[in-house]
Symmetry: C2
Subunit: 212 residues, 2 copies
């Protein structure tokens, strides 16, 4: 069968080749690779470019897309009862990002999705993805496995929140599990870990003293 | 097509009819109902009966099954660094229960699964379930949707842990979201919510005084 040239909306030819290679490497981690699967995902997606500080999603909007981060770094957060930002998650290259609550239940989001760096993403509409699930059970398998991995990551985070001291959870975040901690402002890490910026500064200064 | 009579291993005829009805009601919430799907799930499962305090899983064992709770109530917990029990989750009727970390990654579990009441479960081996996914894409869809719902529940729990005061999280647990809180000993609820039994007693006594 002749190879079909498929290009994602918004991508130039050379970009498209790079994105295809990235996506192929990613999908391979979950399911046996299949040209059809990659082409179908590309065809159904749109390339988005966003600038640092731009918002992909805001409270009140419905999240109708899944995003695959090609480059850059994002955070999701909400404003709590006291009017303070509470970071829920981060996302970097090769991560899918969605407000599942809004996406699955088709309700308005309570989250902000904000770029922390200039970024590129693949965006795929729920409706198109569901058509792909019908056409390619392998794509549905991919997303089942991604949902399971996301659930596992959440369960681990709950375990850490329940068991670790604040010092331990900070050290864990700085470890290899989160290779992107240097790309994120301190106060956002503090928020993600559930403690005050003052506490984070204290730990960091204690650490610096220990090292010197 | 003539109806096929399918019976789950370990189930008597009248039990089997009841289980089939329960499972059908459950599956209907996620995907259009299909006799084949229900029969295949029943055929691939085994009925387990466990007594209060029995363990389904212990640390060091690999979790190779997914369990669907037909009756009874369970908790999963682990022993933390200080030697104390830390409750991770509860499960009641119509909930699936699995140690996904052990099941997906095929590593020994760190969890105990313990029955808090006499209970009945449908158990399905990973290998059999994966065969079903190949045979019936609808069953894979069901489990994708279940994984997404589980992820959503975890994200909500993280949000509550980050934002709610201990008083609020206790009140939330006692609300309709958790219709089973009366079936669970106080100290386990305290552990699940991440606070000490002493703190729970304090809240409860404050509440009683408020009511009287």
């Amino acid at each position: 069968m002749a190879a079909i040239f498929v290009r994602m909306k918004g991508a130039k030819e050379n970009e498209n080749q790079q994105i295809k290679a990235t996506l192929t490497r990613y999908v391979k981690r979950y399911i046996p690779i299949d040209e059809d699967v990659i082409n179908s995902l590309l065809e159904s997606s749109v390339l988005l470019r966003v600038q640092k500080k731009d918002f992909l999603l805001k409270p009140g909007q419905q999240c109708t897309q899944q995003y695959f981060v090609l480059s850059g770094c994002f955070r999701s957060y909400y404003i709590d009862e006291k009017g303070q930002e509470q970071v829920m998650n981060f996302a970097i290259e090769n991560w899918w990002m969605t407000d599942y609550i809004s996406y699955v239940n088709e309700v308005p989001s309570t989250l902000y999705f904000q770029a922390l760096e200039d970024a590129e993403l693949m965006a795929i509409e729920k409706e198109k993805l569901e058509t792909l699930f019908d056409q390619h059970p392998r794509i549905e398998r991919l997303f089942r496995l991604i949902a399971e991995k996301s659930y596992i990551a959440s369960q681990r985070r709950i375990e850490f929140m329940l068991s670790m001291s604040r010092q331990q959870s900070y050290e864990h975040f700085e470890s290899s599990t989160y290779p992107f901690s240097e790309r994120i402002p301190q106060y956002m890490i503090a928020s993600y870990l559930g403690f005050t910026p003052e506490f984070l500064s204290m730990i960091r200064s204690r650490k610096r003293k220990g090292k010197s």
